[in-house]
């Protein structure tokens, strides 16, 4: 239970990566956010039984991870964390859709398995690109980009606060759980204890929110958030945006694995 603390320290690593210096880090956050959004859009536009056409799209997260010096272990671990949710989402397809669509040697593959695999693949690709985006831009950079792309400020500020105070709240929760655990004599957390603990945490959060608001008022806060804008959208950002969008379109229209397959079998 208490290793929740480690989980949150790990979350902090995301920002440490985000503040590194690389060609990719120096690009305008808006360019990266737009390209990642385009990627997610194109990937999700594939049909439900499509698998082979999706494979080349791994090029995007992989090459960005290399350019941005994102550690592989870190990336795989993030995907691993999201994987159970994806598998649950795709779990029912093989049961519901039993029509055989494909024969690989003696193996008959049903539509359910194919659509399930396709869905998990799409999710893995999207999650990977999102992880790489945050690791090369930082949550702060992503927030700034979203605001400048027209997301209402109130949402951007909410994301910022959520990210900032997740750590503080998690630390408080970890301290409370540890205090309970040390006096629990090995008994697990029961639902009767959970209620007061969660309630207490909520009240503390409420108090803290009030103190933060006071700290903001003390520094002249009048309901509007003024932000310093630093980055500027240059030719390199434009090139990055258009080059990737062109690649996505090409991969969407031309199914390269299928093409290669037919070339090989045609030649053989």
């Amino acid at each position: 239970m208490v290793n929740l603390g480690d989980r949150f320290r790990d979350l902090g690593r995301m920002d440490a990566l985000g503040s590194q210096e690389s060609t990719l880090h120096r690009l305008d956050p808006r360019a990266k956010v737009l390209v990642t959004a385009a990627f997610a859009l194109v990937v999700s536009s594939f049909g439900r039984y499509e698998v082979s056409g999706l494979l080349p799209f791994a090029l995007f997260p992989v090459s960005l991870a290399i350019l941005g010096e994102v550690p592989w272990g870190y990336l795989l671990k993030r995907i691993g964390l999201a994987l159970p949710f994806m598998l649950v989402l795709g779990a029912l397809n093989p049961v519901l859709d039993r029509e055989v669509l494909l024969h690989v040697g003696p193996l008959a593959i049903t539509g359910g398995w194919l659509s399930s695999f396709s869905m998990v693949l799409k999710l893995v690709l999207t999650v990977a690109s999102a992880v790489v985006l945050v690791a090369t831009t930082g949550v702060d950079g992503v927030c700034q980009a979203l605001e400048r792309l027209g997301l209402p400020q109130v949402f951007v500020v909410q994301i910022g606060f959520l990210h900032r105070y997740t750590f503080v709240l998690a630390e408080e929760a970890v301290r409370m759980l540890r205090a309970r655990e040390l006096r629990s004599n090995g008994h697990g957390l029961t639902h009767r204890e959970f209620g007061p603990l969660a309630g207490h945490l909520l009240l503390r959060t409420w108090d803290r929110a009030q103190r933060i608001h006071q700290a903001m008022l003390a520094r002249g806060f009048d309901g509007n958030f003024h932000m310093l804008r630093r980055s500027s959208f240059g030719p390199r950002d434009l090139l990055f945006l258009f080059a990737w969008c062109a690649i996505f379109l090409l991969l969407r229209i031309v199914n390269f694995p299928m093409l290669m397959g037919s070339l090989v079998s045609g030649g053989g």
Partner: protein
């Protein structure tokens, strides 16, 4: 007219639940003075501090900052004049990076970006925290957080600094560094604290609060030498004024 004067006139505060937190508190703090606010837990220190920039308003009596009464209409100006450093830096550092946090106040004042940038650098430099500019708050040590929190207030160039427990939770070295930095300020300073040794270092004048009333107001060394008064207010002499623990000999004051 000086902006640097803080005055309380028969200030009373009663909370909504009927608790009488302050009773007829009267004092006048002059330009450039450094004053300690000491007292036991629950003596009313925090309640009093919250009156200095209008987080709380008096139930009766008045607070005047630089001869301007603190009322709703003057809050905006007074909050620019009085810089409040909260006890928990996590409450004060709410932006994604320290640099943005220090910029928050100046941006709210409507300054142009170049001036904001200059103020951010100056405030962080002053607190020996320039290297923290692009870091998120949760990556900082307690000492770094404290210095960053003070920088967020300095960037608004206040005339009066109000600090709530600035040395709590700091290791001896971070505490010493902070005391050194605070000593260099020429602002009017009001410091609420239990760290009486720091008071000896920084504040020639001390206000003692007890059960919501001013029990003593005078020269720090005289007040700390008055053992009867300290005992009545649940305080102890600072360690540097106590007799030598090893040989029992009293040090000269």
């Amino acid at each position: 007219m000086s902006h640097h004067i803080v005055e309380a006139i028969e200030l009373c505060h009663r909370y909504g639940d009927g608790t009488q937190a302050l009773t007829e508190v009267t004092f006048r703090i002059h330009h450039g003075e450094s004053v300690a606010l000491v007292g036991a837990n629950g003596a009313g220190k925090s309640t009093l501090l919250q009156h200095f920039n209008g987080v709380l308003l008096p139930t009766s009596g008045a607070v005047r900052i630089g001869e301007v009464p603190l009322v709703k209409e003057t809050l905006r100006d007074i909050r620019r004049t009085v810089g409040m450093v909260f006890q928990d830096p996590d409450d004060q550092l709410f932006s994604p990076t320290i640099g943005q946090d220090v910029a928050f106040g100046p941006l709210n004042l409507g300054l142009p970006p170049a001036d904001v940038e200059a103020r951010v650098r100056a405030a962080l430099d002053r607190m020996e925290a320039l290297s923290l500019k692009d870091k998120p708050a949760y990556r900082l040590s307690a000492g770094e957080k404290r210095r960053a929190a003070i920088a967020t207030v300095l960037s608004m160039t206040p005339d009066i600094l109000v600090l709530d427990e600035p040395t709590s939770g700091l290791d001896p070295r971070a505490r010493r560094q902070l005391i050194g930095l605070l000593r260099a300020f020429h602002h009017t300073k009001i410091i609420a604290t239990h760290d009486l040794d720091m008071v000896l270092d920084l504040c020639p004048r001390t206000l003692v609060l007890h059960e919501g009333r001013v029990k003593a107001d005078g020269a720090t060394r005289e007040i700390f030498a008055d053992e009867a008064l300290l005992a009545a207010c649940h305080l102890e002499k600072p360690l540097t004024m106590q007799g030598c623990l090893m040989c029992g000999e009293k040090r000269g004051i």
